[in-house]
């Protein structure tokens, strides 16, 4: 049991180190690269659309794709409804915390009801 525990902590430390490297490289290298060179205009124009595209794909991954990467149209009905609620609330309040909390409350209530 002791052995297992220390292995688990060791494993978590490895995971954290890998995660830190995965988080650090994409943040640091481009800044380093572009702090000595000029960023091409077309690159900036292209990158402008990256965040919105990435967030959209992450949302559909959460709602419409299951853990073994199969498409599920109505597997998470409560999440679909809660997502619509979040969109409306974000649109009107523009507050990150209100949107997230409302989404959590909505999905919680709906998962009790459905």
């Amino acid at each position: 049991m002791e052995q297992l525990l220390s292995n688990k902590i060791f494993y978590h430390i490895i995971v954290i180190i890998l995660a830190a490297i995965a988080a650090f490289i994409p943040r640091y290298l481009p800044v380093l690269f572009f702090s000595t060179r000029k960023i091409p205009e077309w690159f900036n124009e292209w990158m402008k659309y990256v965040p919105v595209s990435l967030f959209a794909t992450l949302v559909v991954k959460g709602i419409f794709v299951d853990s073994s990467y199969n498409f599920i149209a109505f597997g998470h009905v409560e999440q679909i409804i809660a997502a619509l609620i979040v969109i409306v609330i974000a649109y009107f309040t523009r507050s990150m915390s209100i949107s997230v909390i409302a989404g959590l409350v909505a999905v919680w209530l709906l998962s009790l009801a459905l």
């Binding site: 490297i21 943040r27 959460g62 959590l104």
Partner: protein
């Protein structure tokens, strides 16, 4: 730098704290949710603190938690996080023009604790506030990192004490991304791209059975956005009134919290951004040593 100011150093950290406060507050619920999920994935609170300081990314930490619960191999964990964090490459390269003149050590520290939200604040401040210095920007990152890692750790601690439906907490991530989409969809084209990215996202995720599908879909959808905007700008007679580039309808806000004001400001900046980028390019070409030491104060 701040000789013209009456009480320069003391006022500055408070002023920056005021700028970062809405962000820090909004990190609390998301950080708590993230801490709870990481706790459920088997991390103790010291590990949670460590990972939230080193990774400092809501999305990545949520995905890390879900990968750990399904016992994914280390290579999958690394690659998924790496591809998810690739977006920082884009954020970083767009901020780099403001921190060019700083030391190598500053650039290292600054880029290590950059993320979506403090990037948004810093980009907005750099674009509008002439007095905004790289040091202020770093201070915003420090405040947001403190708020984030503390709420993560607290989440990890209460996660053990109370039982919570994890599927519900997991939705915090989706809600966070939905919020960011709503904030970023400004014109019809970005809305179209959002829909396109969703369809491509499902298609490539099912096709590749891997988070690599996310990256393919993102790069394709954003490239289509770029190509359409470019085509419209070059071939339309009146690009700013073209359907693709006209603004989406937005409601008048009756509430004005700090966050609202900030978002409002951010929206205005976005509108001015394109223009400013063009002006800046022209200016940079004409008078090269633009004030490269510090922004001076007008008093």
């Amino acid at each position: 730098m701040a000789k013209a100011q009456i009480n320069p150093e003391k006022a500055r950290w408070l002023e920056v704290l005021g700028v970062s406060m809405p962000l820090c507050l909004s990190y609390i619920p998301i950080g708590l949710a993230c801490g709870i999920l990481l706790h459920a994935a088997g991390f103790n609170f010291i590990m949670i603190l460590l990972v939230s300081v080193l990774v400092f990314s809501g999305g990545a930490q949520f995905i890390l938690a879900s990968l750990l619960t399904v016992n994914s191999p280390l290579s999958t964990i690394f690659l998924s996080l790496f591809f998810l964090e690739l977006r920082y490459a884009l954020l970083g390269s767009s901020l780099s023009k403001y921190i060019k003149q700083e030391s190598a050590r500053f650039i290292l520290v600054f880029s290590a604790s950059m993320n979506d939200e403090n990037y948004a604040i810093n980009y907005m401040k750099f674009a509008t506030d002439k007095k905004w210095t790289p040091d202020d920007a770093l201070l915003v990152e420090r405040y947001s990192l403190a708020a984030w890692s503390i709420s993560n750790m607290v989440g990890g601690l209460i996660g053990g004490a109370i039982s919570i439906d994890l599927e519900v907490v997991d939705f915090a991530l989706t809600a966070l991304f939905l919020y960011m989409i709503v904030m970023q969809v400004q014109n019809h084209l970005s809305f179209v791209i959002c829909i396109l990215a969703s369809i491509l996202g499902v298609y490539f995720l099912v096709l590749t059975k891997n988070t690599l599908g996310l990256i393919i879909a993102t790069l394709l959808a954003s490239f289509v956005g770029f190509a359409v905007e470019n085509t419209v700008r070059h071939h339309s007679k009146d690009p700013s009134n073209n359907w693709f580039l006209t603004k989406m309808f937005r409601p008048q806000i009756t509430k004005t919290t700090l966050e609202d004001k900030q978002a409002q400001e951010k929206k205005e900046i976005k509108e001015a951004e394109k223009l400013e980028n063009k002006i800046e390019n022209v200016v940079e070409r004409h008078d090269e040593p633009k004030d490269d030491t510090q922004h001076h104060d007008e008093g």
